[in-house]
Symmetry: C2
Subunit: 342 residues, 2 copies
Amino acid sequence: MKLSELGEFALITLVRNITNKSKDLQQASWQQLLVGIGDDAAAWQGDNYIQLATTDSLVQGIHFDLNNTTWEELGWKALAVNLSDIAAMGGTPKYALISLALPGELETENISQFCHSIASLAAEFGVAIAGGNITTSPNIVITVTVLGNSKTKSVLRRSTATPGEQVAVTGPLGLSAAGLKMFKENISLDTQTTSILRRAHLQPVPRIREGQILAQHGVKTAIDISDGLIADLGHICEASKVGAKIEMEQVPTHPLVKANFPNYHELALYGGEDYELLFTADKSIIDQAKQALDCPIAIIGDIVEETLPDRVTLLDTKGNIIPTKKGGWEHFRSEIPKAKFA
Amino acid sequence: MKLSELGEFALITLVRNITNKSKDLQQASWQQLLVGIGDDAAAWQGDNYIQLATTDSLVQGIHFDLNNTTWEELGWKALAVNLSDIAAMGGTPKYALISLALPGELETENISQFCHSIASLAAEFGVAIAGGNITTSPNIVITVTVLGNSKTKSVLRRSTATPGEQVAVTGPLGLSAAGLKMFKENISLDTQTTSILRRAHLQPVPRIREGQILAQHGVKTAIDISDGLIADLGHICEASKVGAKIEMEQVPTHPLVKANFPNYHELALYGGEDYELLFTADKSIIDQAKQALDCPIAIIGDIVEETLPDRVTLLDTKGNIIPTKKGGWEHFRSEIPKAKFA
């Protein structure tokens, strides 16, 4: 069977199953591993802290197009998507390793711009760029690894959602997908809107502080929205063996998306790459966390007992079910490999 | 200027200079960073141990050719080259993250073989595969990150060689380059020799235990031989601001390389990818370490005061200088991008 038939998520399961066969609880590394393959970041018990590690790649032609992405934006995004994974664990990023696979015909000046930008985002979050690797490659592949830690005794996971909890999100959705749509379809918008959409898609701001505050207030379950709200909530439901009911009208959608894109619901539900945090907790915990946070928290639904085959149920204001699309980004399977939405 | 004109090492310097501008000693991450960009692995002060992190990529068409590499061998090598970097710091590998950028037309079975092999090498060294990333890509790029630690208070570095020290290596050289030459030139050798050369090139064994023993016995300076003996010794000399004199006849060359390849000196000196440890220390330290090691230690020369422009001087048995080639692997610049030797 080809990977394109198997799909990304089945492939992750296959990698996990095979590598877990080498699990050996006689070994300190396995004993101390708290979160292995299948969450936003790996976590293991360090001496005083929980250690976190995550890695993410940007591939030319799949994740970015140099015709509508500057090297500064690429540097920012390559680090930001990894910082977002640390945010989704409630952690603090500390060190980054940068692996660059680059064609020899690239201009040195572009790599300088890339480095200045990645260094400036790193500085903003107190991250030291500690190492990496450079190699020739026919196609650009940028892989960043971020190491961090967690001060709280527990990290935010995907597998801890419980029926009765509310589902919430840290900010409005759809802006990044709208930016991508604008690029792909050459949609002409006013300068300010263009700039906001571009920034949302190419220079997302990781919710580091927000993730830490959620963890401090007792939230146990979170994921960052990279594949799309419905898909990422599906990841939580699958890992937690629960279901979720979402009220579509409660899903916060950015006003600029509503104003300029008739399919704004689709962009908010399936778009992805917003890098907002999607989390679940009891109402009282969310209420307390809300007061400590600067960002707008929207309650969008509830965790329920497991529902199969569709783990996530989308409802209109009258409680009628709206069929969900097999949405969200899945590598190898997506029909439009450069789009993050169906 | 294009990267192909700048070359890999100047590019690493550029990345280091730019990212070091964001250095902020108010930040704990920078305060605790012991070894940044430019060594085999990054190192920082953890609570009880020194933490190590390294990353290395294998790019299809640059580092491997699927016509003469199985997926098992690829899995092994992808992890082994990273473990070797931890060995070169004298550390213990603990966790690995695996990033796979893969074309959708690949067979799932091949990725299974890859995972079984990487898991088996990981198990051999007590490494837990803790996470990673999977993405679509037009060309295969495998990036592995290994995290480890060091029990000794000091880690092996490139920048600590001192005039008066001896230069030594943990085993015979040239076997991996001979294996690559055999593949590239379709050289026909007997079955056993073919198998040994193939294994040396595609399934190198990282010198983890040896690196730890060297560090325990007071060795301060080491590198693993990936670019080639002369090139890697040049990296030590450059980082340490010293020179080195090597006696060519003292360089240990594998008997199978001597027997089958008339240019065996070239393969041993410039071939690379042997993943033996090249280290420097006072004679008394090397003598003590030798007794604790199972592998054959060869003394091949001495560290001297800095000599420029050629940091490494190669001598014949009469003390005459043999001109060194601008040898060793350098990404972007190498004329034969798939070969590790000139």
